[in-house]
């Protein structure tokens, strides 16, 4: 009887013969991330992938198939839409509306001055107040932001990094005022400084004090805010900066390794903080490559935690992640096409087993999303969840020859990157040398050139173009917001107990040059209504400021 191998060989011959008459569309096909894609995958491509050791079962090591045994059959992913703009009062209204609509989690976007630790009246903040998120200057604003929202009943994700400790302290202080015990608080702070140096750019302090602040948070929360996810190790922004899927995977996990090492060095034991680590990935257009990326990430992280860091608790080995669809894939041309891109990306995230998802709105390539656009984005998730059927069985892509082969390849390539980063002395050192920045930039440039040469088709941009009217009715933030915010700040500074502010800031200053955990000092300053800019200002004085690299 003819074997599969014989048949396959014959099939290959036949295909090659037919190619003489009719060529394929391209000489070589590549994934978005640049993997050469075979014509056909068979079980022979995954001969070395062990069904038990490498793929395993959902909820079990190495978690390739997912972190829970029943996945979305038990509970759907959290549909978490990132929102926030203008003032705390306006954002508060939006959150209340979202909660009424059945939203389970809040996701707070802060404006750039807040993210960089400047008050709204700082000269560098001019033109930026309330633009890309809500402006928070002090505990007063945070009280307004969560006014009427019981903090023991929501989970709140805050996209905040360099000043994460201050914003978390404000959140805890609001809870205190509501009479909510900090042990009841649930949510996430992004708190991932390494990717800020690498890609996102909202850093303040140099690496060493930044890593200290992060481990201070780990340590403080393990005791006082045990349900809080203390970090969201993010590949999202690295990908947005232009890297490939494998680089996103590798650099994110390399950052993860650096945080674990820092925490261990600070005296924490791995199983005490590792279960509270969470991740944040991008969902780009290449469906199978993205699914493979998430599966490889889970498996690789489990292996790293078990073998490298000797974690005992399976929860320490589980890579849980939030996903956002790729902002960089959206086009300003024919913006409705973005709805379809986001739908494909949603599928990728769900087939990849994400724990929560933000879907971008079609108009985000040129402005803040309108309410109608945000609704379509949310509906996209709901259609995938309730109508497509993909959520009804666990890890449906498993066993696909292509996806398993790609999962395996991406994992190996990520391991090579991580080995290289280890050689350079770990992620912070490698970033200091500009290694990742150069890799990201090279990929970004190649991607752009591929588009310009027409080797990569972007529908509506370099093919299938039309003449179109510029979009109208874009959402704009009222410049009055800046004026109002400055006014509020002025009033606060008049009313608050100034000696108490000064005392708490001085205590923080002294603590900065000690070995002490800074969280309690930041919390006291926050309670005294010291502003974000004042608190970060003390730390700027003590720690200095980071300067980026000029790698183009």
């Amino acid at each position: 009887m003819e074997s599969f191998e014989q048949r396959l060989a014959q099939w290959d011959k036949n295909v090659v013969k037919s190619l003489a008459k009719r060529k394929e569309r391209k000489e070589t096909f590549y994934t978005t991330g640049g993997h050469a894609v075979n014509r056909l995958y068979t079980h022979k491509d995954i001969a070395e992938v062990d069904p038990l050791q490498d793929i395993g079962l959902p909820g079990e090591y190495p978690f390739t198939r997912g972190v829970q045994p029943t996945m979305y059959r038990g509970r759907l992913w959290t549909m978490r839409q990132y929102a926030g703009f203008a003032t705390a009062e306006e954002s508060n209204k939006r959150y209340k509306y979202l909660i009424e609509q059945g939203s389970m989690g809040l996701s707070v976007a802060f404006d750039l001055p807040t993210q960089i630790g400047f008050d709204s009246d700082n000269s560098l903040a001019e033109g930026e107040v309330g633009k890309v998120g809500v402006a928070i200057d002090s505990l007063r604003d945070m009280e307004l932001l969560f006014d009427g929202i019981p903090l023991n009943q929501v989970s709140t994700s805050m996209t905040i990094n360099a000043p994460a400790a201050v914003l978390l302290a404000m959140y805890i202080a609001v809870a205190e005022k509501q009479g909510v015990d900090s042990k009841e608080l649930r949510g996430t702070i992004q708190n991932d400084i390494l990717k800020e140096y690498m890609a996102r750019g909202t850093y303040i302090f140099p690496p060493e004090p930044s890593m200290r602040l992060i481990t201070n948070i780990f340590e403080y929360c393990a005791e006082a805010v045990p349900q809080w996810n203390t970090i969201s190790i993010s590949g999202y922004h690295i990908r947005e900066a232009g890297c490939t899927a494998v680089q996103e995977l590798a650099f994110t996990l390399a950052d993860g390794i650096a945080y674990v090492e820092a925490a261990i060095k600070a005296g924490l034991s791995v199983d005490d903080f590792a279960p509270r680590l969470s991740f944040f990935f991008n969902a780009h257009n290449d469906l199978f490559e993205e699914v493979a990326k998430y599966r490889a990430a889970r498996k690789l992280w489990a292996k790293i935690m078990k073998e490298r860091f000797k974690a005992q608790d399976p929860k320490s080995m589980m890579l849980k992640f939030h996903t956002q669809t790729a902002g960089c894939s959206l086009t300003a041309q024919q913006p409705d096409n973005n709805i379809i891109r986001v739908a494909i990306q949603t599928l990728a995230a769900v087939l990849g087993g994400t724990q929560s998802l933000h879907t971008n709105s079609r108009d985000e390539a040129f402005a803040l999303p309108t309410e109608a656009s945000v609704r379509i984005a949310l509906r996209t998730q709901q259609i995938v969840a309730y109508e497509s059927g993909v959520a009804d069985t666990v890890d449906p892509m498993a066993g696909s020859y292509y996806v398993e082969a790609l999962t395996d390849t991406m994992l190996k390539q990520a391991e090579e990157y991580i080995a290289r980063i280890d050689e350079l002395g770990g992620a912070p050192k490698a970033i200091e040398r500009g290694y990742m920045q150069q890799e990201i930039m090279d990929s970004a440039y190649r991607y752009q050139k591929d588009i310009e040469k027409g080797e990569r088709v972007v529908v509506g941009v370099n093919q299938f173009r039309i003449d179109e009217e510029p979009p109208k009715g874009l959402l704009r933030v009222d410049p009055e917001v800046e004026v109002m915010q400055k006014q509020k700040l002025l009033e606060l500074k008049e009313k608050r107990n100034s000696p108490a502010v000064a005392t708490s800031l001085e205590a923080l200053r002294i603590a900065c040059s000690s070995e002490e955990n800074l969280m309690p000092y930041i919390l006291s300053a926050v309670r005294a209504y010291a502003t974000l800019g004042e608190i970060c200002g003390v730390m700027r004085d003590e720690f200095g400021e980071y300067i980026g690299t000029a790698i183009l």
Binding site: L112, F118, A365, E452, L552
Partner: protein, 132 residues
């Protein structure tokens, strides 16, 4: 006689850290044979104007994605004017709504390149619109 090189300053005013576009453009201009001064993130209009002047660049590329362009771009061009710098081609890029472009052009930004722009188009725009 040496070959005259086009000198360009690629600058990011404002606080946003999204420098992918600025860097890709910078690299494309370098590959087109230009000298590209890059000064990193969070540049104040004053710093940008002073750098433009000291480096005697032919072109100033401003990139911003946070939405603060209407505040910051005109401030840069006003400072250039104050310093009698009138021979520099100033162009802008980033997430900038079409409806803002006339305002920016009135304030001395001679072209605005939005997402989806071909880098070759920027190169040829520069080459054909130099002011000296």
């Amino acid at each position: 006689m040496l070959e005259r090189k086009i000198r360009v300053l690629v600058a990011k005013p404002g606080l946003d850290g999204h420098d992918r576009g600025a860097k890709v453009i910078g690299r494309a201009l370098r590959d087109a044979g230009m000298e590209v001064v890059y000064t990193g993130l969070r540049q104040t209009p004053e710093q940008i104007a002073a750098t433009t002047l000291q480096e005697d660049v032919d072109v100033l590329c401003l990139s911003i994605l946070s939405g603060a362009h209407n505040t910051l771009f005109p401030r840069v061009t006003a400072l250039l004017k104050e310093n009698d710098v009138d021979d520099v081609l100033v162009i802008g890029g980033g997430v900038i709504p079409d409806e803002d472009i006339p305002f920016l052009k009135d304030h001395g930004i001679e072209a605005v390149f939005t997402p989806g722009t071909n880098t070759e188009d920027v190169v040829s725009f520069i080459k054909t619109n130099l002011k000296r």
